[in-house]
């Protein structure tokens, strides 16, 4: 077995993930390399979910009975865990959403309805990048269309990094918000936060960071990032689907208007008008995803018991191994950085002119699960002149043997379509 420095004890870790034992297609061992799409769930999270429903289930923040109080404590306890996980100065800065898309849409709508000085209108500009997931493009396009604001973006270099050479022309005095991804879901690129934040702060623009592909894989410190908003989702970090997070700086959350109205986000309601609860509740209208939040709390406990720095080191070792092994496959072109430097554990590639759907299908027949298509980042495919890519992405339970299986599988694909 291949030994790489920094690897976790995957033999022990994999025992926590029941689904990794599955065999598919008549006896093929599952090789799950689609972690950038969603992660698998450890037993600890599954147990937390069933325990919640079996022992505590009630609606939160209302009712005085035992279950309601315990459910509320569990839900709010999950908020405390998230706050600690991202080093938030205050637990009240952690808003639960259903996913990162909702978090980003929430920011865009806060700014669209805000008063000065935050208001985005026809005299102002919004800045994103060409490597964003559609969830960090479309909300800003909608905001630009509705307000008349101008949408601008950073382009990409040939080796899959942000082209910041014209940063002073892209981010200007007119810029109200700069929203960008910390780790690209398609290219794997880790972006230089500091340079962008510095320029944004110079012109007084707010900064929103999409950390969906960062939170599961590395230590995340919202204070060190110096951003104003950070969005991520639970299901990519061992938690269930249906729970996401928006962190925002407290004074902003106090000033900015709510987006969704409903139960739980109010202070008082009359037929003429309402006043709102303080953040984070102001932004959590309706019954929240309670069990899912509890599941996210359990996922954070699980990840922290292993250590985010150790997970980062494990994935870095795997990525280094994978880019080297993949670059030895004939006709394979990595789309994105070709070294493990400033790179996450999602690797996109093309294989000659074999369509990624065909690559993915033939890999699936061998039990290897990868993602194929645009990865919700079609502008990246257009930028590099390719219809789609095949993407392999790793997590804390991935092994060098799985990368070997991928490389062998790709040989089979080449023979099949060659």
């Amino acid at each position: 077995m291949t030994q790489l420095p920094g690897l976790l004890d995957t033999e022990a870790i994999r025992k926590d993930f029941p689904v990794l034992d599955r065999v598919v297609h008549d006896g093929k061992k599952l090789v799950y390399l689609d972690n950038a799409a969603t992660s698998q769930k450890p037993r600890q999270v599954l147990d937390a979910l069933s325990e919640y429903y079996e022992r505590y289930n009630a609606n939160v923040h209302r009712g005085v009975h035992v279950l309601a109080e315990e459910a509320t404590a569990l839900y709010e306890g999950a908020r405390d865990k998230v706050a600690a996980f991202i080093n938030a100065p205050s637990r009240d800065e952690v808003i639960f959403t259903k996913n990162a898309s909702e978090s980003l849409n929430l920011v865009a709508n806060m700014l669209g309805w805000a008063d000065e000085p935050y208001r985005v209108d026809h005299e102002t500009e919004i800045v994103i990048t060409e490597m964003e997931h559609h969830s960090n493009i479309v909300p800003w396009q909608l905001l630009a269309q509705r307000t008349g604001a101008k949408l601008k973006w950073f382009g990409l270099t040939d080796d899959g990094r942000l082209d910041l050479s014209n940063i002073d022309e892209i981010i200007t005095e007119k810029t109200k918000i700069v929203s960008f991804v910390l780790v690209s879901n398609i290219l794997g690129t880790v972006n230089p936060v500091e340079a962008i934040v510095r320029r944004a702060q110079e012109v007084g623009a707010l900064v929103c960071i999409d950390a969906s592909q960062a939170a599961p894989h590395m230590p995340l410190d919202v204070q060190a990032l110096q951003a104003d908003f950070v969005a991520f989702t639970g299901h990519k970090m061992c938690a269930p689907t249906g729970i996401g997070v928006l962190w925002g700086r407290q004074e902003l959350l106090e000033d900015l208007p709510p987006f969704l109205g409903g139960g739980e986000m109010i202070e008082t309601v009359s037929m003429h008008s309402s006043t709102y609860a303080p953040a984070p509740h102001k932004f959590e209208a309706g019954t929240p995803p309670i069990a899912q939040a509890v599941g996210l709390g359990a996922a954070i406990d699980y990840l922290q018991s292993i250590g985010m720095d150790k997970i980062l080191a494990h994935e870095h070792a795997l990525t280094e191994y994978a880019v080297q092994k993949l670059s030895e496959v004939p006709d394979l072109r990595i789309i994105g950085p070709t070294t493990a430097e400033d790179r996450g554990a999602a690797i996109s590639f093309t294989l000659g002119d074999i369509h990624p759907h065909d690559v993915g299908q033939v890999l699936d027949e061998q039990g290897i699960a990868v993602r194929v298509g645009h990865h919700c980042a079609r502008p990246v495919c257009l930028r590099y002149g390719i219809p789609a890519t095949t993407r392999a992405s790793f997590y804390l339970y991935s092994t060098p043997a799985e990368i070997d299986a991928l490389v062998e599988g790709l040989e089979h694909v080449r023979n099949f379509f060659g």
């Binding site: 759907h357 299908q361 298509g373 219809p387 099949f416 379509f417």
Partner: protein, 150 residues
Amino acid sequence: MYQEVILDHYKNPHGRGLRDGDAEVHHVNPTCGDEITLRVKYDGTKIADVSYEGQGCSISQASASVLNELLVGKDLAEAQKIQETFLELMQSKGRIEPDDAMEDILEDAVAFAGVSKYPARVKCALLSWMAWKDATAQALGGADAERKTA
């Protein structure tokens, strides 16, 4: 699912390239990025030509080739029967085992029976057929023109 017939059509497509037509449509399969531009040329109700350009997976491209081979030269009514039979097969979720009667109608297109077991790939196989239906509606009068993919 990758029958030899499908791979043959993928590697050596029939009638590929855009030629003169009465109507042109462009259909995409947004989940995977398959694209096709397709033109139909009618001589009365007889299909004089179906020409196309596209990019995408082997299933989508082979399916366009099979469509060209099957439909060119046919009368509209017969072509519609073929299209409907192919649609029925592709929506069968693998439950239809093509019999001789179906094989007589679909010829090479029966090779796609296995694709119907893969929901993610059914749209690939149907892309050119839906484009053909749309282009035909446009070419033969807009009244019942519709634009949709499966």
